[in-house]
Symmetry: C2
Subunit: 320 residues, 2 copies
């Protein structure tokens, strides 16, 4: 029987509005009897929703009222400067104050990354946190990172991402010795830019199961469990997949879409890895089903104490 | 009635071997009564194939024997140093000597780019040629460039790519004032790296129908007709699409795959734009149908004298 767990959910800031987020909360609570949600956002909206829920669900919630919302158009600086009373900031602070073991938000990505780093702090010795997401693959999922937190990266940062991705593949998806690839535009030595050459050299000497460069068409194959890139290339790959998936789905019947594994909701929830606590970014367009998946990822990572595992992995890397 | 046209086809170097390339040649000849193909490669293989063809097809072919083949593993340097007798080199030289109006090869991309630049020369005033490919989109196709010829680019190079892409959208696809976007990881000003900021500024002042930054999920939408990027980001996007397409197709029935527009053969054929002659890179894994599409693209671009149009566009850009 799993232990009780409490997660702070920012119910504001997503494209579909708080009602959809609250439906996602309900779904997550129904699926996980030990889950408690701290619902952060517009108090009247939340209380109205809770009043409609059966008591065995609503009793596993608490409410943290927030006066403001970080807009999708706010810069990370705006969020830090003016967001003190925002639902996102309060949800993150609830984790810092140990009122919750993880935080989930569908809001502005840049603001979430900046605020989480500021409030929750980066793991000792780690250069930068990264955004990590699972994508569908022939053998289940492939873990991709970074998908947007760091536009430009050094070789040391990419190496640390490889360590973190490998730990997540083991922790969240039970892959024993995850095969790690470095995203490039060719697999031959000498391809790509200098940072990739340097990271390739470091990773070859590491204790990871590093398989070398991989190309973007291998992302969905069984060749690799973790694919490491800077946040620019990773974001291009992820959004290409999203856009192409939508394009294909628009030309197919809903049944065929389901069969083909084109439902992106099953993979919703990017982990902001490298912080001292668990933070999950849910897609801005996430519906209730998608959000419940993101909450589930938060539960898995908090229960496994992913930040401690990553801290140990980074310490080990640096002792080598 | 279109004028007769002669295209040099490198029948070697593709994954499926010369027989498949020759089947593609036959298909192209059947579809285009004014097409003449100069078949470059292993003479006995080609002659054997021709002996099986009806006379009205085989009479529109000629044979250029080539003693060697550029391997997929050869570096561009290897190709330039040791490839003098290769099918790829001889096909390109046939274009230079005006024995053909365009060249099509399914061989090694790096070798094709390097050899074509060396033999056919870059258009006056243009910094670098680029690899351009159509991808499927809600409004027909989106033109992407660069997809792999230039790993790193300056803002001036990206601006020239925008001009070339716009001309190809008009010439090959009859788009009147193509909407041009610059691939980035967000649409807000200030996103991405410095080169993108600088290119964005130049393009805003240009006479192109420039719509600003676009994200990779817009590649398949009707938002944009031409998407400009460096060859690293473009290659990542293109190969992500290819890999995801294969992943989806592996989970669907062949009928559903066809309906969904997942057959990549219809978009086979990347144009190496910015040279003084037309060169088309067919996919290494192209089958006969796919290769015939690439040959068709070569016909369209040669008939329209695309290199002259690009030369005029680049001259106009530089006079501004």
């Amino acid at each position: 029987m799993p232990a009780p767990i409490k997660i702070a959910l920012d119910v504001m800031g997503a494209d579909l509005g708080p009602r959809s987020a609250l439906e996602g909360a309900r779904l997550a609570l129904e699926n996980a009897p030990k889950l408690h949600l701290l619902l952060v956002g517009d108090e009247s909206e939340i209380r109205l929703f809770l009043s409609e829920l059966p008591i065995d669900i609503s009793e596993r919630t608490s409410v943290l009222p927030a006066a403001t919302v970080i807009a999708m158009t706010d810069s990370p600086k705006d969020a830090l400067r003016n967001g003190a009373e925002s639902s996102m900031r309060l949800a993150i602070e609830a984790v810092k104050d140990t009122r919750a073991q993880a935080c989930v938000s569908s809001g502005n990505t840049g603001a979430l990354v900046a605020t989480s780093k500021y409030v929750l702090k980066t793991i000792d010795g780690l250069r930068r946190p990264a955004l990590l997401t699972p994508i569908p693959a022939a053998n289940g999922v492939t873990i991709m990172l970074d998908v947007g937190a760091n536009t430009q990266c050094t070789a040391s940062m990419l190496t640390e991402f490889a360590v973190m991705g490998s730990i997540v593949a083991s922790t969240d998806y039970s892959v024993e010795t995850p095969a790690v690839g470095l995203l490039n535009i060719g697999v031959e030595a000498g391809k790509g830019h200098e940072v990739l050459q340097e990271a390739d050299n470091i990773l070859r000497e590491s204790s990871l199961n590093y398989i070398g460069f991989c190309e973007a068409n291998q992302l969905f194959s069984a060749d690799v469990d973790v694919v490491v890139s800077d946040g620019f290339a990773g974001n291009i790959a992820l959004k290409t997949m999203e856009g192409f998936s939508r394009y294909i789905a628009s030309r197919m019947s809903p049944e065929a879409t389901g069969v083909a594994g084109l439902d992106p909701r099953a993979h919703n929830g990017a982990s902001l890895v490298g912080l001292r606590h668990v933070v999950i970014k849910s897609h801005g367009g996430a519906d209730a089903v998608a959000l419940s998946h993101a909450i589930n990822t938060a539960m898995v990572e908090a229960r496994a104490d992913l930040p401690s595992k990553i801290a140990a992995g980074i310490a080990k890397l640096q002792s080598q």
